[in-house]
């Protein structure tokens, strides 16, 4: 186990460094810099030059590259030009929001997906199986910005059950502690649902297939003959093994949830890493983009390692390798 972890950690470090370098190259070869949009104002270009020097972006690229990694080594992620605050501070505000949204979305996908997949496996090839399969596929292939807006209009505007976006109520600070918790829950439902529903289809399909692989007919027939409820068999034996591909799937969806949920975050005004990174790229906020990619890729790597560990815990065959 220790050797496995060590190897995975070296791999992970390499991945993070490569991702950061790639992001560095991409964001710097894009035309413009943080101040180029300011040329539209009544600004003295010499002042803009002075700013470029003050933020260190007029130095040659290799020098900037080197100094970025050098300050990274001491834990300094640099200054965000668009916010005027340290990158770590800006990220620290966005990361918990992303983790929260991601966690709840995964929860939705998992519970719905596993339940649906198990139900489908038990009623395989029935009309219900096919209809459910098709429906979850339909929902899973909808573009998230459309699905999110439809959910928002239906549940917030027409039915007034839930708020239309935001992480908290405008008067959140006036609520009691209990009220605040309820407020946060109410605000996370729609965005998590939007993200979660998209993953449900894939998980349901995997669950169904995996269960059908793992539960041969005779197993179920025996159980039936013995009078044991099929459901019990499914839960006890099937789910445990079928959890494996689900875990793997969750690991695969991490990058998207961690930094790619741009549409959902923008629609629901959710201050998360995805919208932050996209906005940072558009405004050429170099250090913020790099910081976001770094943090994001670290989380993906850590998530991948955790997934593998979980995989090994659940599936003894993996452990033997």
């Amino acid at each position: 186990m220790r050797r496995f972890l060590a190897r995975r950690l070296t791999h992970g470090a390499a991945v993070v460094l490569i991702a950061a370098s790639l992001a560095f190259v991409l964001v710097h070869i894009a035309p413009g810099d943080p101040f180029s949009t300011l040329n539209n104002d009544q600004l003295d270009p010499r002042v803009v030059e002075a700013w470029r020097t003050a933020y260190g972006i007029d130095r040659p690229l290799p020098q900037q590259f080197y100094s970025f990694f050098r300050q990274l080594a001491v834990g300094n992620l640099g200054l965000s030009v668009s916010y005027g605050r340290p990158v770590s501070e800006v990220l620290a505000r966005a990361l918990p929001n992303t983790l929260l949204l991601m966690g709840v979305a995964l929860l939705v996908s998992f519970t719905a997906g596993i339940a649906i997949g198990a139900w489908q496996a038990m009623h395989r090839d029935s009309v219900g199986d096919r209809v459910t399969g098709t429906t979850s596929l339909v929902i899973g292939s909808l573009p998230e910005f459309w699905l999110g807006l439809v959910l928002m209009v239906v549940f917030a505007e027409k039915l007034h059950w839930l708020p239309a976006g935001g992480m908290v109520d405008p008067l959140h600070n006036m609520l009691s502690t209990g009220g605040r918790i309820v407020d946060r829950i109410r605000h996370i439902v729609l965005p998590a649902l939007t993200l979660g529903l998209l993953g449900t289809a894939a998980i349901a399909r995997y669950q169904r297939a995996a269960l059908l692989d793992v539960l041969p007919q005779d197993f179920i027939r025996t159980a039936r003959a013995k009078g044991i409820a099929e459901r019990w068999v499914v839960y006890r034996h099937g789910l445990r093994n079928a959890l494996v591909p689900t875990i793997v799937l969750a690991g695969l969806s991490l990058p998207t949830l961690l930094g790619g949920a741009v549409f959902v975050e923008t629609l629901y005004a959710w201050n998360g890493m995805g919208s932050l990174a996209a906005a940072a790229f558009f405004s050429r906020d170099y250090y913020l983009v790099l910081g976001a990619v770094l943090v994001g890729s670290v989380m993906v790597v850590v998530g991948g390692i955790l997934t593998d560990v979980l995989h090994a815990v659940v599936d003894p065959r993996v452990r033997a390798r």
Partner: protein
Amino acid sequence: MDANPSRRRRDDDAGLGSSPWREALRTLRHDRTAMAGAIILLLLIGAAVAAPLLTPYHPEKPLDIVALKNLPPSLAHPFGTDQHSRDVWSRMIYGARVTLAVAFLSVLVAVTVGTAYGAIAGYVGGLTDALLMRVVDACLAIPRVLLLIAIATLWQAYSVTGMVLILGLTGWFGVSRLVRTLVVSAREDDFVAAARALGARDSRVLVHHILPRVIGPVLVAATFAVGNVIVVEAGLSYLGMGVKVPAPSWGSVFQEGMGVFTSSIWASSFASAALVVTVLAVNLVADGLRRALNARQLPAR
């Protein structure tokens, strides 16, 4: 899963001759859901090809920018008109050309690049393999949306070729990982070892012994990817980086529809429906392909 067990035993080795493929094809033909998907796809492609016959209006022609904009569906305009008073039905049919072409071609690019990359990494092995795969992991760790934004910003004119390249070059990472795994496991195979011991050149081993094993899963993955890329194209257009104005694509119809969503849901809903139907059809075919190819009893997945 439906294949005859006795037939399974007769296929003693994948890669020799075409009978396993014929098996797969036969299984596929009998698979009703996959066939349904295939028929839908063919209808869509046919509609796209026959666009001039099916569309009463030119997709880029505004009809009356003051009086006829944002109309709901009617007999004259089955999908309504958009904010520039253009017939949405015509835009969707012509848009299918762009969207389907971009989808298939970009997946082709992605699969080609990914297969080559993964095959080399898997076959060569060692430090090269580790390094190449770390690069892929790094690219996968960056969310696709960000990569697309970054690369699309460098390209300023969004022709169909441009979009194919942008989408293809950001979508090959998963394929390369898949291919690499398959190649690594195939490399251990007795048959391959024998061939190499007999002095066969590496390229010959790759092409004749390993690649056939790879094609099946890659084909399945590619088919799923086609559905995925259609949604990604819609997202790119939503960000303003789609096809050149005023050319129609499903993504651009979507984007314009989202702009008037609060007052008329028609355009974006029809675009959604088209997307869903296409993705559904593609997924049905892909599922069928997977079932058919699994029946050939591939080596350890």
